[in-house]
């Protein structure tokens, strides 16, 4: 299946070894979208590198930005003000819903259901409107700055988010009625691409794929960052780790994110939005590893600074790249038509895989 293929979510080439219809082995050839983001990081100042981070996982740019800014704040031993932390949480949770919506739309389209894609896009449009009102950009937002936020929350932010969350609940149930109990959907996804818990941990898979295999691990609970410790929400966990479970886990995650947003907008604390961080950032030499729960999985930043204005090394742990490793184990023994469903269910974005 060539790099330019309707259902590989970007430029991913999969070499399949077939016996008739069954897949015996597969090999993913990547690198078509490699822009050398990490090398660029080494000769850009900390602030200048922030927009590059959004271009990696272009579907969830806000959470990339959050991860990077918090990593540098940890390096500078600076704490973002509470108001900035709450707004950051709201925007990241909205981005998670948007990323899951895009996943649901394209995944359903690959398996043949035409309508969910448009419903998801309609919701995602609402979220992108909120981003646009807040920071001017819809996709690669560059909304956060090291030490807090650049822009004050526009006055109707609470009202917009509240309006969105209010009717989003009925929308999710709308998708569920369309797909969850649909006999053909179950036929196409149940028992397809099974990843047992041990394999998931062995491959280092994270995010919804890991949780669907039954491992209850979510960084928002394990190592709370931003303002997640203030809010109550559950972590959905699957049982068999097949495509159907991953579908259920992600749908449940959308509902949980909605709850977080509702709790967050109740009390956005007043106060400054930017910590006292000088124009020129010269973090003390040293290294830091900070990971956040991006929609695809654990997005980690390992930044080494040598005291100068530019980082010595920026290593990014992309969740999609590592989830892709489990692809071969899942595809083995399935039919060619299932390969398409499995690529959809591990929800990879090639910008993040290739960097």
């Amino acid at each position: 299946m060539g790099p330019q293929h309707p259902s590989t979510h970007g430029v991913l080439r999969v070499k399949l070894k077939l016996d008739g219809e069954r897949v015996i082995g597969s090999e993913c050839i990547i690198g078509y979208l490699h822009r050398g983001v990490e090398k660029i990081g080494e000769n850009r100042t900390y602030q200048q590198f922030a927009p590059y981070v959004d271009r990696m996982d272009y579907v969830a740019a806000v959470s990339n930005g959050l991860g990077y800014c918090e990593a540098i704040e940890k390096l500078l031993v600076v704490e973002a003000p509470p108001r900035a932390r709450v707004i950051r949480t709201i925007l990241t949770e909205l981005q998670r819903i948007a990323s899951h919506l895009l996943w649901l739309g394209t995944h359903a389209l690959d398996i043949g259901a035409l309508t969910p894609l448009f419903y998801c896009m309609r919701e995602r449009e609402e979220i992108l409107k909120i981003f646009e009102k807040y920071c001017g950009a819809r996709l690669t937002t560059h909304a956060f700055r090291i030490g807090g936020l650049q822009y004050e929350a526009y006055d109707t932010l609470e009202k917009d988010v509240e309006r969105f969350c209010r009717d989003f609940e009925s929308r999710v149930t709308e998708y569920e009625t369309l797909l969850t109990h649909n006999r053909i959907w179950i036929g196409r996804t149940k028992g397809v691409g099974i990843l047992t818990a041990e394999d998931a941990i062995a491959f280092g898979v994270t995010g919804p794929v890991l949780r669907a295999s039954g491992v209850k691990w979510d960084l928002r609970k394990a190592a709370p960052y931003a303002a997640y410790d203030q809010y109550k929400f559950e972590i959905p966990v699957g049982t068999t780790g097949d495509t159907y479970d991953r579908y259920l886990v992600r749908m449940e995650e959308m509902r949980q994110s909605r709850l977080i947003c509702l709790q967050a907008i109740e009390n956005i604390p007043a106060g400054p939005i930017l910590a006292k961080v000088g124009k020129v950032l010269k973090p003390p030499p040293g290294e830091v590893y900070h990971a956040i729960e991006a929609p695809k999985g654990e997005l980690g930043y390992y930044v080494v600074s040598d005291g100068t204005v530019q980082p010595y090394r920026v290593r990014i742990r992309p969740p999609s790249f590592i989830n892709l490793q489990a692809f071969d184990r899942m595809v083995r023994g399935h039919l060619v038509a299932d390969v398409v469903a499995i690529i959809g269910t591990i929800d990879i974005v090639l910008g993040e895989v290739d960097r």
Binding site: S7, A108, L117, W185, K190, G191, V192, G333, L335, A337
Partner: protein, 446 residues
């Protein structure tokens, strides 16, 4: 010689003329079905669909047709010229030929009551498989060959299921002649779809699979086969295949309407109480005309307003034509023809609406699930159903029940058939659970 051709013409001028009209009008009808489909799909997906060409996109089919005609006609190298040209022609030919056997209204039938009516239609549309198989082969690319083999395998297997479903339907009618079938439903006073609901259901599913649509449109929509057997065809040739697919859809839905939904009969045809239904067609058309009038001022450009006005006037005229036989005594004899035609078209479009509705909402089957459904579920069920309907008929003729009374016998028969269906399903499920390999999807799980 001239004298011979003269009396030949005198004898057959009507069918020849109707045939010519059908072949000319059909691409237009198919074009508008495509437009309706795109509009419906857009409506269900919270968007607008083609709006740009003509008011509300009404001229879109013409634009599509012109585009297809002037598109460059690519022939893949060392493809087999003869077969490459022949395949789409065969496909369209079979579809158009089967239209000839259909009866739109009691008066309007091209091949005047052939003795083997329905069988002729089904048989000739079975020829369409050749168009697909040869098309796939002629464009000698590995993918389209695989796609064409898959789709013809699907067609052949679902045709048996559709055939058996028709057999159980024909048990009730007793004859193959289309006109006689509808008359039988008139005398019985009940549509055969109600007497043999399981047969109707099987035929519904099989006809969807036969026209490669909705959940079974695997061969051309499969992600790795891209467009199946149609990939290499471009421009006019591709539109021939497209025309064949939609004509097949019309043919299949009219066969279902004739046999199961009482052809051109008004619902409750014989019950005097429901005579007000005669006015429904004209009221409907007046409603459409009113809506068009409402929309005319809102059209952006002047010419579109005129066009919308013309459409409104046209609908109004049709409403008058439909009203005449119900009201004016002199137009009484035309009553059957006009109203019959309306009800037939109404039912066929309802059936096609169901086709489209399915296409937008439910995902697609995988090929092995599709074949398993066909062979392990539909065909045995349809054979059992023939048995069950036969027994029900004997019992009902024993007590000589007729019309609605027959329901007393046929509904338990239908329930029996459904019980057997569930047993087949359960058996199918064990078969699945038996297979240990993770690959075999739990077909009817959940």
């Amino acid at each position: 010689m001239i004298q011979a051709t003269m009396d030949f013409l005198k004898l057959y001028w009507a069918p020849l003329l109707c045939g010519l009209v059908i072949v000319a009008v059909l691409p237009l009808i198919v074009g508008y079905i495509v437009l309706v489909e795109r509009k419906l799909m857009a409506d269900m997906q919270a968007r607008l669909g083609p709006m740009r060409v003509g008011p509300h996109g009404l001229l879109q089919p013409i634009a599509d047709a012109v585009k297809l005609l002037i598109k460059e006609d690519i022939i893949p190298d060392n493809a087999d010229k003869l077969v490459f040209w022949l395949a789409p022609v065969l496909s369209v030919g079979a579809a158009l030929l089967s239209i000839a056997g259909l009866a739109i209204g009691p008066a309007f039938q091209i091949a005047r009551d052939i003795n083997i009516g329905i069988l002729f239609v089904v048989g000739v549309s079975a020829m369409g498989i050749f168009g697909i198989v040869l098309g796939g082969w002629a464009s000698n690319s590995h993918y389209s060959l695989m796609g064409s083999l898959r789709s013809s395998a699907q067609l052949v297997s679902y045709e048996t299921a559709a055939g058996m479903a028709l057999v159980s339907g024909l048990l009730l009618t007793g004859t193959l002649n289309i006109k006689a079938i509808v008359e039988a439903q008139y005398t019985e006073g009940i549509w055969f779809g109600m007497l043999a609901p399981v047969a109707f259901f099987i035929y519904l599913v099989a006809s969807i699979a036969e026209t490669n649509r909705a959940p079974f449109d695997l061969p051309e929509a499969e992600s790795e086969l891209v467009a199946g057997y149609m990939t290499e065809f471009s421009g006019f040739r591709w539109s021939l295949y497209f025309l064949a697919e939609y004509t097949n859809m019309i043919v299949v839905s009219s066969v279902a309407t004739t046999l199961f939904l009482g052809g051109w009969l008004r619902p409750f045809a014989r019950v005097a109480f429901f005579n007000f239904l005669d006015y429904v067609p004209s009221l409907l058309m007046i409603g459409v005309a009113g809506y068009c009038l409402l929309r005319t001022p809102k059209q952006p450009s002047r010419v579109q307003q005129l066009f919308m006005l013309a459409v409104a006037v046209l609908c109004f005229a049709v409403a008058l034509v439909l009203l005449a036989p119900a009201v004016l005594p002199i137009a009484k004899p035309f009553y059957a023809g006009i109203h019959g035609g309306f009800w037939f078209i109404f039912k066929v479009s309802a059936y096609i609406y169901f086709f489209m509705w399915l296409r937008f909402t439910i995902p697609r089957y995988r090929f092995d699930q599709l074949m398993r459904l066909g062979w392990q579920f539909l065909i045995p069920l349809s054979i059992v159903n023939v048995l069950v309907v036969g027994v029900a008929l004997i019992v009902s003729s024993y007590f000589n029940l007729h019309g609605w009374a027959m329901l007393l016998v046929t509904t338990p028969a239908a329930i029996l058939a459904l019980v057997v269906a569930l047993m087949i399903l359960a058996a199918g499920q064990e078969g699945q659970a038996g297979k240990e390999s993770a690959a075999a999807p739990d077909f009817y799980g959940g």
